[in-house]
Amino acid sequence: MSKLKLFARESWLLLVSSFVFGLLIAVTNAALSDRIEQNKSAKLNELTKTLLPNAEIFQPVQAEIEITLPDGSKEPARIFEALSADKQRVGWSFMARGSGFSGDIELVLAADRDFQKLMGYNVLVSSETPGFGDQMKNDYYRNQFVNAPTGQLTLSKTGDPATVDNQIVAMTGATVTSTAVVNIVNTFVVQIKDQMTKKGLIGNVAQ
């Protein structure tokens, strides 16, 4: 009993403060969480709209699609059906992530309405080296993914970046980042396409 009294005497301020501080954080979170979520969605929509200019509505795909990452772990895919103002499907967008040269890279990718061609990617999160890996945000590298087939892409050190095919020409001085982006795209695109086909979400894949 005396131990309990000692505990209460020594730590009551810490307990009361923790409770009050927790309450303060909860109130702030309740007041700002909607706005924070809106900001996240707005950013995602803004980045996706540059890939699918005709898209107005991004409807989350309810079907469970699971991605197996290179390290063997699994995670659910976040896929959106992009619809025009008159509710016609104009494409698909989805999140993809993987390890880069310095930390994780997160991308938002888009594919056409039949999931036959990629419409490109935008960078959500990256801390790649400025002037080197950071060039993944530049058109020179990004444009190679526009209209590329939704199959396995390969990285090459030489070639014509203007040619639309499954060969991606690496960025000079940033081989690790170039490889990382191609690996991320390959990991997510192929698995998402396979599973969406099996679930009947994309019908005319054979065309």
């Binding site: 020594e10 301020l13 403060s17 954080i25 706005r35 900001n39 400025p130």
Partner: protein, 205 residues
């Protein structure tokens, strides 16, 4: 805080952090943000203002509770207090300046372990009245913000030719991208520390 005996304690608390006890350039504490978020002036300024907010709030709370805090739980009390205000600050940044929050990334939550804040709680707020604690927090925070902006200004200028997104260098200037990288932060900080040491030695300070 070390107020001199012959000066007003309020003005000493307010102005010490700006130069005489500048946390970055004179005390060399809390050096993680000066090295990590000074690639441009805007994020540096946002980080500085965030630190001022956390420093003022934590100093107020610690000062008000200074007679109730048991000595052996004081560090955990300071940490809980600082963590609360950093979390609130992080949420405000995410809600009202999402782009800046994204640029600063993990460095906002890392304010919790910035030794400048816990140092001021221990050295000043836990021993001083409310007014002195607030003035100390404002002064130290302003000094910290100033040093971040100076570092960021030099790095942004040399790395991009711009300051605050305004072109300063002539078109012919070739940007030195190394100043945007960690090496640029260390080199700039080292050179500024050397310059300050030179200036203060000449003045006999």
């Amino acid at each position: 805080m070390s107020p001199s005996n012959n000066s007003n304690p309020y003005s000493t608390a307010l102005f010490a952090g700006l130069w005489k006890e500048n946390p970055t350039f004179r005390l060399l504490i809390g050096l993680c943000p000066p090295l990590a978020v000074t690639t441009a002036v805007k994020p540096a300024l946002t980080m500085g203002l965030s630190v001022i907010f956390v420093l003022v709030c934590s100093n107020i709370v610690v000062s008000l509770m200074r007679n109730l805090i048991k000595p052996h739980v004081r560090i955990i009390m300071f940490t809980v207090t600082i963590a609360t205000f950093v979390t609130i600050c992080d949420m405000f940044l995410k809600a009202f300046t999402p782009k800046m929050s994204e640029i600063l990334g993990a460095y906002v939550p890392l304010i919790i372990v910035n030794c400048l804040i816990i140092f001021r709680a221990e050295a000043c707020a836990s021993k001083s009245g409310l007014v002195v604690s607030i003035l100390d927090a404002v002064g130290m925070g302003a000094g910290f913000t100033l040093s971040l902006c100076v570092l960021a200004g030099v790095r942004e200028l040399l790395a991009t030719g711009h300051v605050f997104d305004i072109r300063v260098m002539p078109e012919a200037y070739v940007p030195c991208l190394a100043f945007q990288m960690p090496v640029g932060a260390f080199v700039t900080l080292g050179l500024l520390l050397g310059l300050i040491a030179l200036l203060t030695r000449k003045k006999g300070a």
